[in-house]
C-alpha cells in the first residue's frame, strides 16, 4: 500500500574543500585523458578538449558536493547524446559526402562499427569464424571509427568495469531520449504494461537468430532507430527506402515521442537488444543498488523515478532492483528516506553506502570521461570547426 512520501530532503552537502579533494583524482584523470589532444596541432580540438575536461570535472565535483548522482550525470549523458550525431555525421559527410552508406563503401569495409551489433555477431563468428558486418577488423584511416577490434575491445574492457552501467555512462545513443524524457514536468502516460520490459529480450533473441540465419547484421539493416541520426543504408531501391522509413519511424516514436509522453527511456526499456545483452553483466558486476528495508516506506518514488522501469513492487519488497538496472542513480536520488542505496556485493546493505557510491563513481566516471568525453569533445570540435 503506497503511502504519501515524507517531505523531500536533500542530503547534507559535503564541504567544498573535501569535495575538491575527492574531485582531484578525477581532475588528474581528465587531464591525462585529454592531454593527448595537445599533441595534435588542432586548435579547435584543444579548445573542445579543455572545455570537455572542465565540464566533466565540474560535474564530478557537483556529484561530490551535493551527494546526488543522477541529476549531474544526466547533464553529461544528454550532452553526449546530442553531440555524438554532430561529430559523427560531420565525419562521415567529410569522408564520403553523405550520411547514406553506399554499397561500395560496405565492400571496402568502411562501415563504422558501433557496439550494438556485438551480440549479433557472436553466433556467426563462433560457428564460421565470420564477422557478418561490412567493416574493418583493424582501424582504417579512410573509415570513420576505430574498427571492429577496437570497438569490441573497448566494450569488453568497459563492461568489466561498469557492467550494465554502460547504458548510463558510456552509450552515446541513450542521451537523446534521456534528454527528451527530462523535458516534461510530469508524464502524460503513467500506466505502462510491465510486460514491455521483456521487449529488449525478445528483440535480442530475434535479432541473434535472424543474424545467424540471414548472415547479416539484421538489427543494423532493419531496426536501429539511431540510423536516423548517424548513417543509413543509401536508398538505391524500394527496399532501401523501406529500411530508412523504419529507422525514422522508430527514432521518432521510441526516442522522441514516447520519452516525452512517459518520461522513460523507452527505446532502452522496450527495444534495445544491446541493453538486454548488457543486463547479463549486472550479474557479474560487484556494484548494485539495494533497498534498505528498515528505512523503506513504500512510497514508490523510486519506482516512478526509474527511467527504465527497473523497479517494481516485488523487487522493492525483495530490496533490490531488476536485472535491467543501469545504475543511473535516479532512484537513489529520489528516495526521501535514503533507503535506496549504492551497494557492493558481499557487504551489508546500507553500511557505508556513500563509500560504495564513491568507488562505483570513480570507476564509472573514469570510463565516462574517457569514452563519452571524447564523444563530447569531438562534437564540440565540429561545432567550433564549422561555426568559428
Amino acid at each position: 500500500m503506497a503511502t504519501k512520501p515524507q517531505t523531500l530532503h536533500a542530503p547534507v552537502p559535503r564541504s567544498v574543500g573535501w569535495s575538491l579533494l575527492l574531485t582531484l583524482p578525477m581532475a588528474i584523470w581528465s587531464a591525462v585523458i585529454f592531454s593527448r589532444s595537445y599533441l595534435q596541432p588542432n586548435r579547435s580540438l584543444q579548445i573542445a578538449s579543455t572545455a570537455t575536461a572542465a565540464f566533466m570535472v565540474l560535474l564530478f565535483f557537483l556529484m561530490m558536493r551535493t551527494r546526488r548522482t543522477y541529476r549531474w550525470r544526466r547533464w553529461f549523458f544528454v550532452a553526449m547524446g546530442l553531440l555524438f550525431p554532430v561529430g559523427f555525421i560531420h565525419e562521415v559527410v567529410a569522408l564520403r559526402g553523405s550520411m547514406g552508406i553506399p554499397i561500395e563503401e560496405m565492400i571496402a569495409g568502411r562501415t563504422p562499427f558501433c557496439f550494438i551489433p556485438i551480440p549479433l555477431l557472436v553466433l556467426p563468428a563462433a560457428l564460421t569464424k565470420t564477422l557478418v558486418f561490412p567493416g574493418h577488423i583493424l582501424a582504417s584511416p579512410s573509415a570513420a571509427g576505430g574498427g571492429m577490434a577496437a570497438m569490441a575491445a573497448i566494450w569488453l574492457a568497459m563492461t568489466l568495469v561498469v557492467g550494465k552501467a554502460w547504458c548510463s555512462y558510456v552509450c552515446f545513443f541513450g542521451g537523446i531520449e534521456e534528454g527528451m524524457a527530462a523535458v516534461p514536468a510530469k508524464p502524460k502516460v503513467k500506466k505502462i504494461d510491465p510486460r514491455w520490459r521483456y521487449g529488449p529480450w525478445a528483440v535480442l533473441l530475434a535479432m541473434v537468430l535472424l543474424s545467424l540465419a540471414f548472415f547479416e547484421p539484421t538489427y543494423c539493416m532493419w531496426l536501429c532507430p539511431f540510423k536516423a541520426v548517424s548513417e543509413y543504408v543509401a536508398a538505391r531501391n524500394v527496399v532501401g527506402l523501406i529500411q530508412n522509413g523504419i529507422f525514422i519511424v522508430l527514432f521518432a516514436g521510441l526516442v522522441i515521442v514516447l520519452p516525452l509522453l512517459t518520461k522513460k527511456r523507452t527505446q532502452c526499456s522496450f527495444f534495445c537488444p544491446f541493453g538486454a545483452f548488457q543486463s547479463i553483466f549486472n550479474k557479474t558486476s560487484v556494484f548494485d543498488v539495494k533497498i534498505d528495508q528498515s528505512r523503506c516506506q513504500p512510497c514508490v518514488l523510486c519506482e516512478k523515478s526509474c527511467p527504465t522501469m527497473s523497479l517494481n513492487q516485488q523487487s522493492i519488497t525483495k530490496g533490490e532492483t531488476l536485472m535491467s538496472c543501469m545504475k543511473c542513480g535516479a532512484c537513489v536520488d529520489a528516495c526521501p528516506r535514503e533507503a535506496v542505496v549504492w551497494h557492493i556485493r558481499g557487504t551489508e546493505v546500507a553500511v557505508e553506502p556513500e563509500r560504495a557510491r564513491l568507488i562505483f563513481l570513480y570507476a564509472a566516471w573514469a570510463m565516462a570521461v574517457m569514452f563519452g568525453g571524447s564523444v563530447i569533445a569531438d562534437g564540440l570540435q565540429t561545432i567550433l570547426h564549422v561555426i568559428v
Binding site: 571492429m148 558481499g346 568507488i359 573514469a366
Partner: protein, 164 residues
C-alpha cells in the same frame, strides 16, 4: 562469513577501480590485439573473398577472386568477383573475355565503360560463355552478388554463379 564476503566485495570493487585505470593504457590495446588474433574474417559477401589468380592485361591487371558461397539463408547468390586495376590506366571501354576458372577457355565476356569521373555510375554487360556463370545486362549495383562498383583504385564486377 559475512566479514569474508565483505572483504571479497571490497576487493572486487578495488580491482574494478584498478581495471578502470588500466582500460586506456593496457586493456584496450591488449583486448584489441586479442580480438584481431582470433582469426576472424569479414564475410566474403562483403569483402569479395581472396584473390586466387591475376590475369595480365595491357598495363592493367584483372584479379580473379575465389567463388563466394553464401551461408544459410543469406539473401545473395553465389558469385565471383573480378577486379580491374588500377583504374587510372584502364582504356575508356573494357570489352574482355575472361577465363575465370583458369582452364584456358574464356567463361564470360565483360563489357563496361570507364568514366573519368570517379563518382559516375557504372553499368556492366556480362555475356555468359559458360553456363556456370550468369549473363547480366546493364547492371549497376543491384546487390552484393550482382554489381559493378568502383572501390578505391579498382573496378569490381561480381558475376552470379548459376546454382547447381
Amino acid at each position: 562469513m559475512k566479514s569474508l564476503k565483505a572483504k571479497l566485495g571490497y576487493t572486487g570493487a578495488g580491482l574494478t577501480l584498478f581495471a578502470a585505470v588500466l582500460v586506456p593504457f593496457v586493456l584496450w590495446g591488449v583486448f584489441s590485439k586479442g580480438f584481431a588474433s582470433l582469426g576472424l574474417h569479414v564475410d566474403e559477401v562483403y569483402s569479395g573473398g581472396p584473390t586466387v589468380r591475376t590475369i595480365q592485361g595491357t598495363g592493367y591487371t584483372i584479379d580473379v577472386h575465389r567463388e563466394v558461397i553464401p551461408h544459410f539463408f543469406q539473401r545473395e547468390n553465389p558469385f565471383v568477383e573480378l577486379a580491374w586495376k588500377p583504374v587510372g590506366v584502364l582504356p575508356p571501354r573494357i570489352s574482355e573475355r575472361v577465363d575465370i576458372d583458369g582452364n584456358g577457355t574464356p567463361d564470360v565476356l565483360v563489357s563496361f565503360d570507364v568514366p573519368k569521373d570517379p563518382k559516375a555510375m557504372l553499368h556492366v554487360d556480362v555475356e555468359s560463355l559458360n553456363p556456370r556463370y550468369e549473363s547480366m545486362r546493364n547492371v549497376g549495383k543491384e546487390k552484393f552478388s550482382r554489381l559493378i562498383v568502383r572501390v578505391d583504385d579498382a573496378i569490381l564486377v561480381r558475376i552470379p554463379v548459376a546454382e547447381p
